[in-house]
């Protein structure tokens, strides 16, 4: 439904978006995920028509958008700072796109009612934005972006300003509304949890380039680059040297240890690689427990209690003093490995990802 083809955008000397290609299926929820300054907002603004691409094309429903100004595209957008009209009531805000698109009077009233109800603001239509709470303002913004039944909904980090609890509530609310209306949506965020919770498809961006474009589970479980592996989840990264490569994956030497891992590409012996391990895939082993392919002895450097889990930061002498992070998901067991105590940790070969070392930037 939306096709972005090899699009680039240059600001002076910097390439904010570099040759990005992606497509969204009708009715899907796609999230562009990346750190701030990775070009995700620039990409979104080009899709919306607020910025001209320096190169490449955007197609919506197969039609090129090159010469279509923003106000002629059928796109609803929710801005980071919401950009509600402060001199209009909530209902007038929602009615604005309908008036601009010359809907009939009766239709406008019916739609304003329907969409205020959809975002659960019935009865608050006569309030001005500053008389509403943060969450309610979000709801007005989303109702305004949807009331004219746009082909596409764009979300420019609208949830980033909310506190955690409200943000998580609104994530589910956005997802509910999106699925109820079946509107194709492109969301931009730096919040990995938001991306995983809300999306059908995630595009991970870094420094203007698309790193990976896949379903949330795939992005999480099969990161295609070291950047993606580091950006999602709590990941330990350490470097090693490839000893041999088989179809099953490379064997890597780290410090004095050799271990098996998984990789998206084939390495040659003596290649330097980055190994990534997710904290939840490292197990803290009790005596006599040897269900793991690889086991190492580690020293606890820090113990962080997070309520539902305990994060251990450990140092592994056998792996050239690499620092790893491991979760204990069961704090109720009252295992208390104190700082400087020695524990045994282990993981499976399938969970150790090897990536080519990225060129230093």
């Amino acid at each position: 439904m939306v096709d972005v083809r090899q699009i680039s955008r240059r600001f002076g000397d910097t390439l904010a978006v570099d040759d990005a290609t992606l497509s969204v299926r009708r009715g899907d929820f796609l999230t562009i995920l990346g750190p701030s300054g990775c070009g995700k907002t620039t990409l979104l603004r080009m899709i919306a028509g607020f910025l001209e691409p320096s190169g490449g094309h955007i197609l919506i429903d197969g039609k090129p958008m090159d010469d279509v100004p923003a106000h002629r595209r059928s796109i609803g957008m929710v801005f980071q700072k919401l950009a509600l009209f402060p001199h209009m009531t909530a209902a007038q805000n929602v009615a604005y796109p309908l008036k601009m698109r010359r809907f009939e009077r009766g239709e406008i009233a019916a739609r304003v009612d329907r969409f205020l109800k959809l975002v659960r603001l019935d009865g608050l239509g006569s309030r001005r934005p500053h008389e509403l709470s943060g969450g309610q303002q979000q709801r007005v913004a989303i109702a305004r972006a949807l009331s004219f039944s746009p082909d596409l909904l764009l979300l420019d980090e609208p949830l980033s300003a909310l506190d955690k609890k409200l943000r998580e509530e609104m994530q589910l609310e956005f997802r509910r509304i999106q699925q109820e209306l079946g509107v194709t949506t492109i969301n931009v965020t730096h919040d990995q949890r938001e991306a995983l919770v809300m999306s059908d498809q995630i595009v991970v961006m870094d420094a203007g380039r698309i790193e990976q474009d896949a379903a949330p589970e795939d992005v999480y479980q099969n990161p295609s680059t070291g950047f993606v592996a580091r950006f999602l989840g709590m990941t330990s990264v350490f470097s090693g040297i490839v000893v041999s490569q088989t179809d099953a994956g490379p064997t890597i030497r780290v410090g004095d240890r050799e271990m098996h891992g998984r990789a998206g590409c084939a390495f040659k012996p003596d290649d330097t690689v980055e190994c990534a391990l997710r904290a939840e895939q490292i197990r803290i082993l009790e005596a006599g427990d040897d269900g793991c392919d690889t086991q190492v002895v580690a020293t606890v450097e820090q113990r962080i209690f997070e309520g539902d889990r305990v994060v251990y930061q450990v140092r592994v002498p056998a792996l050239a003093d690499a620092t790893l992070y491991a979760f204990d998901h069961d704090p109720l067991q009252h295992r208390r490995h104190g700082v400087n105590s020695t524990i045994t940790i282990g993981w499976n070969a399938a969970d150790l990802f090897a990536f080519p070392v990225e060129p230093a930037t």
Binding site: H71, R73, F85, P86, P97, M100
Partner: protein, 314 residues
């Protein structure tokens, strides 16, 4: 803990001492008074102004005694009657009001895009240029500027010299209403831009983008979003330009050359040319009343929301 901290510097100990002294001199209970003390100079100035106005009002009820060229002791409404009966004063008043309205409308029309460009330009050099161009005229007094226009627009001025050189004959560009209006607009423009700037800077660019994204072209965005959001600034700038123009003296005097007097010129003439202080006072009172009435009218049109420009939005 305490020993780890370095001893407070002499400066802070001095401040602490002064604060302690202040606490002893002004007990906390009477703290509220100090705030009012700071207002005293301003209140004093306003007070003197009010006393002056009182005298003017008093004068305006005494007619001139032609025999002695002093004001009569008896109170009367004669001066006001003269204002209403003599067409010359009605004309002056009408000319001033029309001029103020014209100048206000045209100045705002030109100031708006200027201020808008200043808040929206991405180029720092451009913004600097616009700012300097805005402030430069402030360094040049009104009288000097009016004379500058005389040099350019006068009978032997630059423009007429050029026209004559081209064999097109000369034009009467000064000593008429148009010249006065032109000079006033040129004088008022920086004030209007300066007053519009904060109002326009307060409109986030996102809001305009949102409007565009929701299907409004730039004309609709301007009409439904930018203009209503800029209203407080427009009203503020409008009031300032209107009152300054209505009471202006130099421009009508110099560029009008006595042919197109505004009220201020008439007041000056009454006091210093025909020595009729009573009539001048009556004219002054009329000017103050009419000016205030228009300001009140502006505010009532704008609605009460305009008044909480600086206040916390509830």
């Amino acid at each position: 803990m305490a020993s780890a901290q370095s001893a407070p510097s002499l400066f802070w100990r001095l401040i602490d001492g002064l604060e302690a002294l202040l606490r002893r001199l002004v007990p906390p209970k009477r703290r509220g008074v100090t705030g009012w003390l700071f207002l005293a100079p301003a209140l004093l100035l306003v007070g003197i102004l009010a006393v002056g106005l009182g005298y003017i009002i008093e004068y305006s009820f005494h007619e001139l005694d032609i025999a002695t060229y002093r004001l009569k002791d008896a109170y009367s409404l004669g001066n006001y009657q003269t204002l209403i009966e003599r067409p010359v004063y009605r004309n002056v008043l009408w000319r001033s009001l029309l001029g103020a309205a014209l100048v206000t409308a045209i100045t705002l029309f030109f100031a708006f895009p200027y201020a808008y460009a200043m808040t929206r330009t991405r180029s720092a050099a451009m913004r600097k240029f616009l700012l300097i161009a805005l402030f430069l005229p402030f360094f040049i007094g009104q009288v000097v500027r009016a004379y500058g226009w005389l040099i350019i627009l006068g009978k032997q001025g630059v423009i007429n010299a050029m026209l004559a050189g081209l064999g097109l004959g000369t034009l009467d560009l000064i000593y008429n209403y148009g010249a006065v209006i032109f000079g006033l607009i040129q004088y008022m423009l920086p004030f209007a831009v300066l007053l519009l700037l904060p109002a326009l800077a307060a409109i986030p660019e996102d809001v305009e983008m949102a409007s565009e994204g929701l299907g409004a072209n730039w004309v609709s965005t301007f009409r439904h979003v930018v203009l209503p959001m800029a209203k407080p600034g427009l009203i503020g700038a409008g009031i300032v330009v209107f009152t300054l123009t209505l009471t202006d003296f130099a421009m009508p005097e110099i560029l009008g050359g006595g042919t197109t007097d505004f009220v201020a010129s008439a007041i000056y003439d009454s006091f210093f040319q025909i020595s009729n202080a009573g009539l001048g006072a009556a004219l002054s009172v009329a000017l103050v009343l009419i000016g205030s009435a228009f300001v009140a009218l502006f505010f009532s049109i704008a609605g009460s929301t305009t008044l909480d420009i600086g206040g916390e939005k509830k």
